[in-house]
Amino acid sequence: MSTLLTIVIFLPLAGALLSAFLPAGEPGQHRAIALTVSLITFFLSLGLWFGFDASPAAAEFQFETKVPWIASLGIGFHIGLDGVALLLLMLTTALTPLVVLSTWNAVQDRVKEFMIALLVLEMAMIGTFSALDLILFYVFWEALLIPMYLLIGVWGSANRIYATVKFFVYTFAASVLMLIAIIYVFFQAGGTFDYVAVRQSLNVGATAQSWLFLAFAVAFAVKVPMFPLHTWLPDAHTEAPTAGSVLLAAVLLKMGTFGFFRYAMPLFPEAALQWRGVIAVLAVIGIIYGALMSFVQTDMKRLVAYSSVSHLGFVMLGLMAITAEGLTGGVYQMLNHGVSTGALFLLVGMLYERRHTRLIVEYGGLAKRVPALAFTFVVVTLSSIGLPGTNGFVGEFLILSGTWLGRIGHAQPLAFVATIGVILGAVYMLWLVEKLFFGPLTKDENRTMPDMSWREIAIMAPLLVLIVVMGLFPQPFLTPAKPAVDRLVGRFEQADARLRAADPSRQPSVGTVQPAFAVLRPVAAPPPAETHNGTH
């Protein structure tokens, strides 16, 4: 069973190698290989999904493989999945075949290289979520930049070179300090890069922990991206080809939040408690700022990109609340954002393929011409703004309630301002839908626009199903995350207890405030949240 994860990681690479040996003049072959390989990878990863044991007694990391890699340096090939990594891995393997399908007609130039880059990217993404060795993680984390750099730079639109260089330099420069921090951790943890061993034996003082946390946090914050480190994102998203935008939004940004969840927070809990206030405030600023920026965009891709800044702000806020609800909501919102923003970028890509413009004013009144596309767009939009019954609602609700009840400084104002962000989000997204699909059909070019093809329906149908299923039946997706969330909360409770032992006047800072505000909950909590009440 443990070799399954290794196969899932490296199967896309095998597909890329196979493609490399086939002639470039046969684009059909390369498309077929990429689709087949990514589909097989998805079906194999279903084995991980069904084989995962989410009971509290089960091992924290499952499907573990641990073999020496560079033994003389203490680096091992150690992989394994907890529930959160599993969910993100499933998101990756499920989206990749859809992305390959979406490029069927859109990419005509250098198809071979495109598919190779896409498959290598998939491998690196899966590897990043699966790694349990700090250096192995870093290798996947950095190696991922190369295919993404090429995807944006080679197949992007007009301003692609500026965008891709900015993307690379931002993320690379932010990550190198993490490498120094990783090596420092190696020495402080008794000479190992193994994540599990490091987490157990890391022993550093408060100041060092604070610096280490910051080195990790900056690397992750750029990827998330958190305000004010987000400026690479609108450019990269706008210039990237559809496939690049989808994977960038759906998976790459999650690597930042996943990094907080897996590395920065559990390795340095005291420092995380120290810095959570700053991060939470930045997250809330990001929510509002991203929403306000979305209002003024004339380019629909840029609009969706800024909405990502806003949505990822929610995720970070949920993580920083350090309550079971907040963390669960943060994890769930990672998936939601992956599904709904991924779907939005796919839809925007479909419109772009038809008209070759991203300007919102070039559209209008499309609903009559392309009813299926319009319907899909509306459903995805509703999910993105968190309408009850869609997946977005569950995540946002958990985050906001988790923050409100959290023992973070200024919890209620933070939650309140974030809630304004929800409203703003609804306004700009519905405004976008209105501009694109309703009102009079003014542009002649749009009168002949074809509706969704069967291929496009095949791409969108699984995502629509996911949006509804995750909205109405969130439990199967919350269950795997629960043990990981509980363990993280447990780690923070221990850290908090240590801090309080050292400073008896310190108030508890982890967990939920009880019971004064709990009274409000039956009023505020609609059905989906009740299914979650068991988590704490």
């Binding site: 003389s72 290798v139 260089v165 490498l179």
Partner: protein
């Protein structure tokens, strides 16, 4: 000290093989009737590979020639790195020289002679032997940089190299004289016995002489001009081989010097070395940033890489991180050899060939790389691999090398040094990636054909495979380096 023993001769075997190879190439040139010179590169490659095999096969461990040279795992590692580097660069030169109708036996003979000097440097544990090694290596490389007597540039480069190189040799030998005066011996290990200002001054001069050779800032001014003016395969060979050999000597001298904790100025010496490393990393990277000529950019980048290696050498001076640091330096040298030879080889294949007397100033302009991925996908991919390795991005050899060096620096508690190093290396990503931008993301601009030669392709493929293998499976080489680092 009574005569030469069999052990001494065995220890010299790699050098003997290289020298015989060089003489054979030279002699065959005299009796050549056909004018076909393809075999010469083959002979050079064969000699280099044989020398590497000889170094591994001969089990003559320990001090030889009365302790003036040492054969140990360290010297074997250096020998093999240098010889394989020479072999690959001979493959590259074969195609390059053929395309320019410039094949001559002297070229390959000089490469082999220079390699013999480098191998000797790897074994030297005495100032005089080191000096002989430096001179054998340098005289050959001076001549190699003037090999293409076309236009002003090569002559200027060679002359500059010769003058400054002689100056640095003079510094070295003067320093050796002072050290002899202070300790009564020319052995490196003498530094642990003596003391006093005289020894510090001597070691300082020796270090300065070697700093010239490794192109450390502020002793680097010759590097860009020489690297740019020399024939490109020669540049590749120099960047790899000279650096490896000079760092080998530097490691041995400084480890011996740092072993003497009681030496006055011990701390200042370490401080000077650290400053040298910082200056080299910062200025090497900053100056590379502004270059449009890829060859010149790689020249500055080789300065920057000398900075990272100096950081490793500095860490080797701290007892608790010595093993880690030397492992890092050795691995870095092996990784850098494969990477830089490959990178310069690609530069050599794409450079613009003017008329014989013309000096194309834009021969290595970034524009030469525009659209390369469409014209020659394999070549562009290999170059991308080399550039990623130079930038230290996984999964390439350059990443593992940087990881080892930074690990050593942190092991020696040099946090500031490590942070400056990592930040400057992030800077490096920008100018390396710029070449990838041109190769993959810009359309071809009036391109001439690039050189196509089987030998060159083989050399490039070997270098690229080495870079990837060292990046993905570095364990065998890393553990060899580790063994080598414990040998002295």
């Amino acid at each position: 000290m009574n005569g030469i023993s069999a052990n001494d001769v065995l220890a010299l075997l790699p050098i003997i093989v290289l020298t015989i190879g060089a003489i054979a190439v030279l002699m065959s040139e005299v009796f050549l009737v056909s004018g076909k010179r393809g075999y010469q590169a083959g002979l050079a490659v064969a000699s280099a590979v044989l020398a590497a095999i000889a170094a591994i096969a001969v089990k003559a461990q320990g001090p030889v020639f009365g302790g003036q040279a040492t054969v140990d795992a360290f010297s074997i590692f250096i020998t093999v790195t240098v010889c394989l580097g020479a072999g690959v660069s001979s493959l590259v030169s074969a195609g390059w020289l053929e395309a320019r109708n410039a094949e001559r036996g002297e070229f390959h003979a000089l490469v082999l002679f220079a390699s013999a000097g480098m191998v000797l440097l790897g074994m030297a544990s005495d100032y005089l032997v080191a000096f002989i090694g430096i001179e054998v290596m340098s005289l050959a490389t001076y001549a190699l940089s003037a090999y293409m007597r076309r236009g002003r540039r090569p002559a200027e480069a060679a002359f500059k190299y010769f003058i400054l190189g002689s100056f640095s040799s003079a510094l070295f030998i003067y320093g050796a004289a002072l050290a002899y005066g202070a300790t009564g011996t020319t052995l490196f290990s003498g530094a642990s016995r003596g003391g006093g200002l005289l020894l510090v001054a001597g070691l300082g001069l020796i270090a300065a002489g070697l700093a010239f050779k490794v192109a450390a800032v502020p002793f680097h001014v010759w590097t860009p001009d020489v690297y740019e003016g020399a024939p490109t395969p020669t540049t590749a060979f120099m960047a790899a081989g000279v650096k490896t050999a000079a760092f080998a000597v530097l490691a041995r001298v400084l480890v011996a010097a740092f072993a003497n904790q009681s030496m006055p100025g011990h701390g200042a010496f370490g401080g000077a070395l650290a400053s040298l490393a910082i200056l080299t990393m910062v200025f090497g990277n900053l100056l590379a940033l502004t270059q449009r000529s890829v060859k010149r950019m790689l020249a500055y980048s080789s300065i920057a890489h000398a900075g990272y290696l100096l950081m490793g050498i500095w860490a080797a001076g701290v007892t608790e991180s010595r093993e880690l640091a030397l492992t890092g330096v050795l691995f870095y040298l092996a990784a850098y050899t494969a990477t830089v030879i490959g990178a310069f080889a690609v530069v050599g294949t794409t450079e613009r060939r003017g008329a014989p007397d013309e000096e194309p100033g834009d021969a290595w302009d970034l524009a030469r790389f525009a659209g390369l991925s469409r014209r020659r996908p394999g070549l562009a991919f290999a170059m991308a691999v080399f550039l990623l390795s130079l930038a230290g991005i996984p999964p390439t050899a350059g990443f593992v090398a940087k990881l080892l060096i930074f690990k050593a620096a942190l092991g020696a508690h040099a946090y500031g040094l490590a942070i400056i190093g990592i930040v400057t290396s992030a800077l490096g990503a920008y100018y390396y990636l710029r070449v990838i931008v041109y190769m993959y993301m810009r359309p071809t601009e009036g391109a001439e054909d690039v050189i196509a030669s089987p030998a060159l392709s083989l050399g490039l493929a070997l270098a690229a495979i080495a870079v990837v293998v060292l990046g993905i499976g570095p364990e065998p080489i890393a553990s060899l380096a580790r063994v080598a680092s414990t040998s002295f």
